[in-house]
Every structure is written in structure tokens, then in C-alpha cells.
Symmetry: C2
Subunit: 525 residues, 2 copies
């Protein structure tokens, strides 16, 4: 293995269930709970793990691969971004259709990943109705309410308190610089845009800052080291935040750009001359033609962008038509969370696909079909019966517990119930709601139930199924059967059970696992 | 005057209405709009101002006093705070009664100022009903929704995804460190607390950080320079923020503390040993007894605290009673805005009080009472008549335009209408709604109206009022009168007018201006 890791670091990362809650990864101890003279009493490498006995008697086990892991950070600094100029989008903007975004996780993943990596994306075909922008924000996070309200209308107003609400051009800027915390995401949803002019513009502020760092390191340093007072004041509001135009993380990576001349109030202090020279140079960079990405928002377009990074702009427009956008704010942290969960779900589907292809190709409890064939046949039967999506999914996944349990199917065949329905339902509950997991959980009980209430049913069981019935408790008594019938998922479980029984035909042709992936993705929550 | 200020700084701060929108202080030009070789062509000091002629022909005027102003910053770093230990609150916590907070702006000001300065305050007597905590947050800002919802219940839950939802002790920590932006304020509203234990604790994280800086500058430096991965992961959420435990502003002042061992994920990189040594030292400081402020929340108490500064804690509790808090998050920027507007309103009331005492003691348009006596008598008449508060205020302030206009009352007496009703209403509209300003705006029109519709009314006018009637346009014609009667504020204006006419009695005893301050404060929005 590599060099010896520091003891407190190693112990703080002990993955055992006593140290960490497996549900959320939160630690169950305080750093001060560790003894002041903690040392490693003994350690060895075993089965790909580092096993450690600590001086206080605690034992830890760390995968060796984990010790060597590297880390890409939280994706919020320039390190995790694709810095761009307008030419990088000559072949089109990162965009998706709203309906596809809603129904296809890979589309939603692409949109959110673009916002994270390039700072923006455009959704097309978002219904051009009022307040719809809030639905877009809620599709990945939470609306941030400000003094402008839950949402704001960008159109010409008679007595505007903000340049946005006029027909004038607006130079590239970030919004709400006088707020701390600044809203980290902005959404602009176009309801109407029939006026001449009024095109939208974006500039990558991280790129502009990186150019400044290249061309004039001293000016860059000045802007990162000068807190600038941003102020907004109207009748009901008096906001102020003192923040640098270019914010760095502790490792001096660009992490935030704030740039809005309208809101810069009086800077005091000694370096005002140096600041204004640096500021003018930076502002000039943000106006370079090659940095201006200009496009037109049409009704139904919704632009989502990173307000800690991108500057946005608007050209002036004529009052020969109407221009009406609705906007709102949200935050990057929830967007990143939604994206991470989407990735996790994709990974889960990949894992299922692998199980179907690998372990699933194995023998299925003495039947003449493999486990994968059995489950695919059950799903096909459900589909052929016109079952709703969640039951097709339940049929497809009903025996997934055979893959996952600590006890495998062969243990069941050796006379021990592996409670595969419970195991499977619990595993699936990480991804699916009760409409999928309950029929899975109850599909064994449904067999015992059907044997009781339908005398003919038991006669139709396969030999293997008849055998496992005994292990599983045999037919229900009448009281059990009555209680079962009252359960919310009972009818669905019975339906799945019938497809289960039909799904043991050697050589039957069915769609493969990938056929069901979009359905499964849409059911994951 | 002092040394010559830098030209671009000076020009960027030009206060003229062409450069700055007087309604919100936002600049109307971009920094790049200024010519590249801007210089001062000429300047002189005149009447307490610096007058500047710029090389591009623009003219600016700056009060000399403004040039010398200093600035206290945005109040978010240690500079604007009172760092504390528990002994500083031996005589009690910063607290207020909820009803008083709602009705008395000075109480609200004190509470919000305490949160800003000391990091917390307690409201007592907040109705112990569900969702009330949201009302508290909305009294100064906006609720920040997170994965825990709009609000969260802190009580024992069967399958908790967070230590908060158990009966166990919780060491001092900040909340949601895995969010960026982190919620900057937290509210905890006690609905029930009959269990043994379950006391609340607060620690000033800025104080703890300042102690670390004093006692171990290298450890302090390490914590400010190490981005720490904070992670929270459950079924629907995967949040991560890489932030230092101690965040500094660009001038190296403490600006943010994040401290929550539960959420610290695996730190990678080379300085892990130094980090853990520094972290353990800092964590030990946060546990020093003299820093622990411990108190009990009782039903109806609502604790508001700065989650970027204070660590909060809870002792373990027995399940011999019920403990139920509801919490929510909000942000410091809006709290500071609300506080600033409250200060502004107090300043406006002080200004009005000064006007009543100073200029108001002067002659009132040839009447035998002063302006202040006249307005106080009108208010007293309205009060005696049982008028609603907004009309008492309108009566009190109806002639405030005489103070404020560019033309003074004496100009009116010289035959020129100073439109004092419009001027007064416009000035008042900075603070009051139309229920106050419309009767003021229309009180002159009401005289012209009453002369038309009530023949006896004109006969009762004072000689001076009869004179000004002519200057103001004389009685309305019938069409004008009919139109006036349709105006929304007409009836109120007529009522104010009648009190106006009654308010010219030499030597009459009335309450003074201070009597009306709470009423005025409650009407300000």
C-alpha cells in the first residue's frame, strides 16, 4: 500500500456502522470523542482491505482502493468547469425539450450537467404560461424568494425600480450582487418576444476572470482582495453585501464572479485607484466580442444559468411588440444534488442491467428458465396484459431479491427461506416507491394467498414452486388470507403473482432489459 | 479638503440624477461608458460641495462631508460583531415579547440588531402552534426551503435521517454545512418541551475562531486554507460543499464558521495531518465551558440565530415528556435589510419630530397658531372624533408639505401656490401608504370641493384660508366637484379638511408629536 495515512484522518473516516449512519453517511461521533493520543495498535492488509486495530480497541476496515481514491471537489470552482467563448457554441446551445426533460432522465441529466459545467442550458417548449418558471425551478430544486418576490416579470413597467423593467439595453452583469448569499441560479422563461431587439446575451465570467489572471495578474489579485460594497435601496429594501468582484476558494481557484456596475456603491479605503484600474480592465474583458454569446429567447424557452459565474445581458428593444419574461432564482446546491441522484439512479439501472446479464443468466430455482428469462417473461406478460407501468416494473423486478440477499436462491432450495421478497423490496425501495415495491414484497404472500382462495391455482404451480411453498409457510389460513386481502398492495401483488407463474416457459422470446430502462427510470424517485 | 480622490472613483460616485437613479441608488451607466482618459478639467469648493467639471463635459457635485465619510462595512465580518462568552449574558438573553415585536418598531429593531451583533435573539410568547415559525421568518425576510422542507419538526422520529430527530445529545455545530449557499439564519420555535433534559446551547463560533487565532495562528491559518468536503446523502439528496471551517473575507477578517463533524466526508490531499491537528484544537475550543451559553426553550419561545457564526447544541433528553420544536431557515441579508429600513423609518420620525419642534414653531400662514400647533390640533380633533389611525396620521401630517417643498409657506402667501398638498404627499409616500398620503394630497382640493357643495362651509373659513382659496383655484365647478367625489380618498380628505379648519385655536392644549410616534411607526411600511 501507499504511505501510512495520518491516524486521526483514518479514524475519522472509519466506515463501520457504529461510526457512520449508513443511511446518510453522517458521522455518529464528534472529533473530540476520539482519544487525545490515538494510535494504530496493529494493522494488516487482508482481502483487499486495510484492517486496523486502534489503541482504544476500536476496529476499522478500509478498502485499499478507497485509500487511493482521488477526489474532484464539489464542482463549484473553475476546476470543475468548461470555460468557454462564444465560438464554443457555434454548433448550438446546450438545450433540451421540456417534455423530454420531464420524462427522460438522461435528458434531465444532460441539462443539469450543462448548467454545472458550462453555466447554462435552455429548455425549449416550456408552456408559455405565467408561473411556469417556478415549475422549472422545482424540477431540480427550490425557489429562492427575494425582495422581487417569488418570481419577477421582466417587461416594460411604468415606474420601474430596476433597469430590467425598461426597454433599454443591459450590459453583462450578475444579478442581486447586493445579496449575501447571492442567488446562485437564475431562470428566465420567455412568454412573449415579438419586439424588435431584446436578444439575450451570456458571458462566461470565469473565463473573463481567467483571462484577466493571464493578462494582468496584479489586477486579478486586486479584484480578489478588494471587498466591494454592493447596495440596493428602495422604499422597502436596503441590501448591502461587501464582496470581491472575483471570489476565490482557499486554494485560490476562481469560485464566484460578481459584476454589476449599477449596484456598486462608494468604495472606501486606500486602494481605490488600483481597484478602478483593475475593474475597468476586467469590465473591458467581459465586453470582448468573442466572449459574447448572443441568442434569442422565443416563447416557451427557459434559460437556466449560474448567477455566480455567467454574466447576462440584453439588447435594447423597440416597443413595436411585446416582450415578457418571467424569472426566478434558485440555488446550485440543490441542482447538483438532483444531478447526483440522477447519476446514482443511472448507476443503479446499470447495476440491474449487469445483474440481468450476469448472475441472472444462472439457474432459476430448478426451473427450465434462467432468473433473467423468468423476470423478463413476467414483465412481458404484464405488458401484454396492458398493465400499468409500475406493475410491469414490479413483474420485471419481483425476484431481484434472489440477486441481492445475503442468502442466495440456492439457500432457499436447501430448505431455508431467504425472504427474497422482503430483501428485494428493501433494495428496490432505495429507488422506487411502494407502488413498485409492495407488489414485490407481497408476491410470495400472494402465492400462499392464492393457494387458499383458489383451489385450482395450487394445482398449476410448477414443481419447484410447490416445493418452495412449503418453505415459505404453505397456504394461508383463512384469517391470514382475509388480512392479506385487506393490504393496499394485495391486488397488485396477486396480479404480479399470476405473471410470475406464467413466466417459466423455456425459450420464449421477450424484450431484453434495456427495453424496460426508460420505464424504470421514469418510476425512480 | 483632503487629498485628491482618484478620478474614476470620484466619477463613478457622481450623485446626479443622470448618473444614479434616485429611487434605488442604482447607477445608470457602465464603468466602460466612462472615457478611457478621464480627467478633472476644473474643480472648486462651493457651499460645502466639491464642484467638478470633467474632461468629457459632465459636471458633478459632491458634498465635502461625503468625501470624508468612513464606512463600517456590511456588518457580516467579525468587525461588525460583539464576540461573546456565556458570562456576557449573565443578566439575560437578548429577547422580546412577540406582540411587542410586532407592534413596536423599537422592539423589532432591538431583536434584529441583536441577531446581527450577537448572533441571536429569543422571541417569547410566539403562539405555540404549528407553522408559526414561518410567520416569524416572514416578519423580517424569506424562508429558505431545503431538502428538509419549508419547515422541519425537531422531535423524536421512528426512522430519523438526522440526529436532530432523536433524543440524543447534539454537540455544538452549524447546520447544513453541505449546502452552498448555506442557510445563513436558523429559527427554532418551541411548541412543547416537557421532557427532562433537551436544553439548548449556543457557542459564538467567531469567538472560538478568534481564540484559535490568538492561541495558535498556524492552526487558524490551516483551517482557513483547507476546503473541507461536507456531504449529506440520503435517498433523494446528495449534497456536497467544499468550504473551510473558518471562512475569511478578502481582508482576512472572520466571516463564516462551518463546523459539523457529522457531515465531514473524506478529506484528500497532502495537509491532512496538519488539518486534523488544527481541527481537533478548534473543536476543543468550541467545547470550553465558558463558551457554552445554555438555556431552556419553553413553549412559545422562538430562537433566531446566525448559522454562519453560532454553533448550536442540545442536551440529551428523556422520553418522559414531549419535546417538539419546529424550525426553518432564512437569510441574513433580508434581516439586515429589514433592520436598515427600520432604522431609516426611525430617522424619518426623528426628522419629523425635529420639524415640528423647529420649523414648525414658526408662523402658520397668517393664522394665530404655529404650523406645529395647527397640525397637532388637527390630529387631536381627529382622535377626539374617534377617527381611524391612518386619518389621525393624515390630520397630523396634512401640512407637512409646507416644511418640505422648494417653495415655502411664505411663497404661498405671496400669491404663488406651493402645491403643498402634492409636495407633502410625495414626501410622505416614502414612508406611508395611500391611506395616509391620499387625504393629505387631496386636502386642498377638499376645501375647494366643500366650498362648492356646502355653501355654509366657505363662510366658516379663516381670513387666511379664504385668501389662499383664491390662489389654489377657487371653488370647484360642478363638473370638478362631481369628479372629486368619485376619487377613492375623497371622503377621507373631506374629513381631514374639517379637522384642518377646526385646528386654528390659539393656546389650545394638545398632545405633542411624541404622542403620535407609535401610531406613525405602525403605519410605516
Amino acid at each position: 500500500m501507499t504511505e501510512q495515512p495520518p491516524p486521526y484522518w483514518l479514524r475519522d473516516n472509519c466506515p463501520c456502522a457504529e461510526c457512520r449512519d449508513p443511511r446518510n453517511g453522517q458521522k455518529r461521533f464528534q472529533i473530540g470523542d476520539l482519544p487525545p493520543d490515538l494510535t494504530i495498535a496493529a494493522q494488516c492488509e487482508l482481502d483487499g482491505n486495510l484492517e486496523v486495530l486502534w489503541s482504544d480497541g476500536h476496529r476499522s476496515r478500509y478498502p485499499l482502493a478507497w485509500l487511493l481514491d482521488t477526489d474532484e471537489g464539489d464542482g463549484r470552482t473553475e476546476q470543475g468547469k468548461r470555460l468557454w467563448t462564444a465560438a464554443d457554441f457555434a454548433r448550438g446551445l446546450p438545450e433540451a425539450d421540456w417534455e423530454a426533460y420531464l420524462t427522460d432522465p438522461s435528458e434531465q441529466t444532460a441539462v443539469l450537467a450543462a448548467v454545472r459545467r458550462s453555466g447554462f442550458a435552455v429548455l425549449r417548449g416550456v408552456p408559455a404560461v405565467e408561473r411556469q418558471v417556478l415549475r422549472v425551478a422545482e424540477s431540480f430544486g427550490y425557489v429562492r424568494v427575494t425582495n422581487y418576490g417569488e418570481l419577477f416579470d421582466v417587461r416594460v413597467e411604468p415606474d420601474p425600480n430596476n433597469l430590467a423593467f425598461t426597454d433599454r439595453a443591459i450590459a453583462p452583469h450578475t444579478d442581486n450582487p447586493y445579496r449575501d448569499p447571492v442567488p446562485t441560479l437564475q431562470l428566465l422563461h420567455c412568454l412573449e418576444n415579438s419586439a424588435t431587439g431584446g436578444d439575450s446575451g451570456l458571458v462566461d465570467g470565469f473565463k473573463a476572470a481567467a483571462i484577466l489572471r493571464d493578462e494582468s495578474p496584479e489586477d486579478f489579485e486586486t479584484l480578489t482582495r478588494t471587498p466591494v460594497p454592493f447596495v440596493f435601496r428602495d422604499r422597502r429594501t436596503e441590501l448591502r453585501a461587501d464582496r470581491p468582484l472575483i471570489g476565490l476558494d482557499p486554494l485560490d481557484r476562481i469560485r464566484e464572479v460578481r459584476c454589476n456596475n449599477r449596484s456598486i456603491a462608494t468604495l472606501r479605503g486606500t486602494n481605490r485607484e488600483a481597484f478602478y484600474a483593475a475593474y475597468r480592465r476586467f469590465a473591458a474583458i467581459t465586453l470582448r466580442p468573442e466572449l459574447q454569446l448572443t441568442f434569442r429567447l422565443n416563447p416557451g424557452d427557459c434559460l437556466i444559468f449560474d448567477n455566480t459565474r455567467l454574466l447576462h445581458a440584453r439588447t435594447a428593444f423597440e416597443q413595436d411588440g411585446h416582450r415578457h419574461l418571467q424569472g426566478c432564482y434558485a440555488d446550485l446546491d440543490s441542482l447538483a444534488s438532483t444531478l447526483a441522484v440522477l447519476h446514482r439512479r443511472t448507476a443503479a439501472l446499470d447495476e440491474l442491467a449487469e445483474l440481468f446479464a450476469g448472475e441472472g443468466a444462472g439457474e432459476y430455482l430448478g426451473e427450465a428458465v434462467t432468473m433473467a428469462e423468468h423476470m423478463l417473461q413476467a414483465a412481458a406478460a404484464a405488458e401484454a396484459a396492458g398493465a400499468p407501468g409500475h406493475l410491469v416494473a414490479a413483474a420485471l423486478l419481483h425476484d431481484v431479491g434472489h440477486f441481492q440477499g445475503a442468502l442466495h436462491g440456492r439457500d432457499l432450495m436447501q430448505g431455508q427461506d431467504n425472504r427474497h421478497s422482503d430483501t428485494g423490496a428493501a433494495w428496490l425501495a432505495r429507488w422506487f416507491g411502494p407502488e413498485v415495491t409492495e407488489p414485490v414484497r407481497l408476491h410470495v404472500a400472494a402465492k400462499r394467498y392464492l393457494c387458499t382462495v383458489e383451489p385450482d391455482y395450487r394445482a398449476g404451480l410448477s414443481a419447484a414452486s410447490e416445493y418452495t411453498l412449503t418453505v415459505q409457510g404453505g397456504p394461508m389460513d383463512e384469517r391470514e388470507a382475509a388480512a392479506f386481502a385487506q393490504l393496499p398492495g394485495a391486488a397488485d401483488a396477486v396480479a404480479v403473482r399470476r405473471w410470475d407463474e406464467q413466466a417459466k416457459e423455456p425459450g420464449a422470446q421477450t424484450p431484453d432489459f434495456e427495453h424496460y430502462r426508460p420505464l424504470l427510470a421514469s418510476l425512480m424517485r
